[in-house]
């Protein structure tokens, strides 16, 4: 396989990774909460898309907004009912709480959906461009992932709610003094985080099989990408995701697929210690 092909594989994978991580990064950056539910949100989005496609015969791209909306409601409710109550507590508390909630969601999914890998098969064939072969569904996945990430970026920059989220992220107290209802913003942010996770899961299910066994893997990826790219910014997550995709692609080729993940984690540990602000060390959404 030539280097260009490996690189393109990495970029395609990386776009999906960026979409996975961007919601996680937003929640971490704004709420200062590590959302252990994020992996399960992704899988839930993937499963819902699969079932809508498999049993109802719906087009997965049309299902995606509905799934995203459902996840938004779920995320908003969880934040409003549970996490808001302890949002200022130390890390140990918030992390443990979201882990507990994740155990419940995970258990529900394994009981009702089982852990069987599910995949939406679109059968779009593949294209060959100057010797680089790429299945069309993956390209579609990449396109959707980038589109979703860009949409979030625009919402953050352009909309009132987006600016309010950025304001809360930068200074909670000042934002509260300016009349922003901080708890509401927290719930909206968490909802958006879940929405992005659900949408990413829907996209993922069109490209790779999803199963509940993958929740931890996705969560791990989100960690790594946040640390590589820096917290709470859309461009940061994009850079982190693309970087991780390319790194894994090359590490997988040269060191073997089982080492690909190790390299990502090792890089994260090193970055944590050397440069905790990430490669794109920006504060807030510019």
């Amino acid at each position: 396989m030539d280097i260009l092909q490996i690189f393109v594989n990495g970029i395609v994978l990386g776009a999906l990774y960026a979409c996975i991580a961007v919601g996680f990064s937003l929640v971490w950056g704004v709420l200062n909460v590590i959302n252990m539910l994020h992996g399960s949100f992704i899988i839930l989005g993937g499963y819902l898309t699969f079932f809508a496609w498999f049993y109802l015969g719906l087009n997965p791209i049309l299902v995606l907004p509905a799934v995203a909306l459902l996840l938004y409601i779920l995320g908003f409710a969880l934040q409003y009912l549970f996490i808001n109550k302890v949002v200022t507590a130390p890390v140990l508390t918030t992390l443990t709480l979201t882990f507990g909630l994740d155990m419940i969601l995970y258990n529900l999914m394994t009981v009702y959906f089982t852990a069987t890998p599910r995949r939406v098969t679109l059968d779009l064939g593949s294209i060959d461009l100057a010797g680089i072969v790429m299945p069309v569904d993956r390209l579609l996945g990449m396109g959707l992932a980038l589109l979703l990430t860009a949409l979030l970026y625009l919402v953050m920059r352009g909309s009132t709610i987006g600016r309010a989220i950025v304001a809360v992220r930068m200074d909670r107290q000042a934002a509260a003094l300016m009349g922003i209802r901080v708890n509401r913003i927290y719930a909206v942010t968490f909802g958006i985080g879940a929405l992005m996770a659900g949408a990413a899961g829907a996209v993922f299910a069109m490209v790779f099989p999803v199963t509940t066994n993958l929740t931890g893997v996705f969560l791990g990826k989100a960690f790594v990408i946040c640390v590589i790219g820096g917290l709470g910014s859309v461009p940061g997550a994009l850079v982190g995701g693309l970087a991780l995709g390319v790194i894994e692609s090359f590490a997988g080729f040269y060191l073997g697929p089982q080492h690909a993940i190790t390299v990502g984690f090792l890089l994260m540990l090193i970055l944590l210690v050397v440069r905790p602000t990430g490669l794109v060390g920006v504060k807030g959404y510019e």
Binding site: L92, L95, G100, I104, L108, L272
Partner: protein, 325 residues
Amino acid sequence: MPRRALALIGLAAWIGLLAATPWIADNYTVRVAITIAMFSAMALSWNFIGGFTGYPSFSTAAFFGIGCYVGALAQRNGVPMVLAWTLATVSVALFAAALGAIILRLKGHYFAIGSIAVVEVVRLIVSSWGSVTGGGDGLNVPLLQGSPDWVAAKVLYVMLAIMLAAFAATVLVDRGRLGFGLRCINQNEDAADMVGIDTTRFKIAAYALSALFCGTVGAVYASWVGYIDPTDSFSILLTVKVPVMALLGGAGTVFGPVVGAGVFVLLEEFFWANFLEWNRAILGGIIVFLIFFLPGGILRLDYRRLLRRTLRQRETGQKSPEAAE
């Protein structure tokens, strides 16, 4: 009578009960007793870094897993069992001290993430280093000699001994200079630095202490079950369960981790036995309940006040309204 003395008597009775299980109960109960001793030792260990020092460490599974593997590999290479356990203990403590020098510079979320990442990295290294560790297939460990009952009793006593050692260490640290310094770091690290505490060294000591006993427990566990693999040894569930136990009992207290581990393991066994399919959700439910209703842990509840209140209510119910202030 001082509360401390009462608590010590309670602890002695509890350990006595656990130690008596091989004579008075069936095999299953002995297994539960072993599990309780194991987790008590690990929760007490975690308490050094997570409770006293206030650093949200999630690296317990890394220490436990390395203990498993060092013990197993040493025994497979002909090192006598007890020596293998000792070797595991020492290497885990050294590993933690070296690692601590690097990741204890991180704070809050970054430390939490870093400590979880350590578990993942070590697990991935162990599973992909097949030539030494057997990779994903795992390793067989020489079994303890003797009848199953005798083996279980022996493991139980060793685990209880580790638990007691961890408890003794907790008492010593709690009363001494180290514990005082760790509490200062917990409340205000900059101020701790300013009063002359070498915060780096204190934190590394706490981190190494939090690892040490987990290493021993891991090695003994490997000898007990006779087979280890990366998923089981470096489980994320374990790495979160142990802090939850300490929180359940009361993080930063001397007796809390023992209470928390006991209560948690018993509840878990109960749910496993009765709601097999839902045990994970129920565990999650306990965690959520704990965070909202027992934020300081079981030991931080003011039982005297609760008791007084109920008594007073009863009195006012019976007597004249004078009793109510």
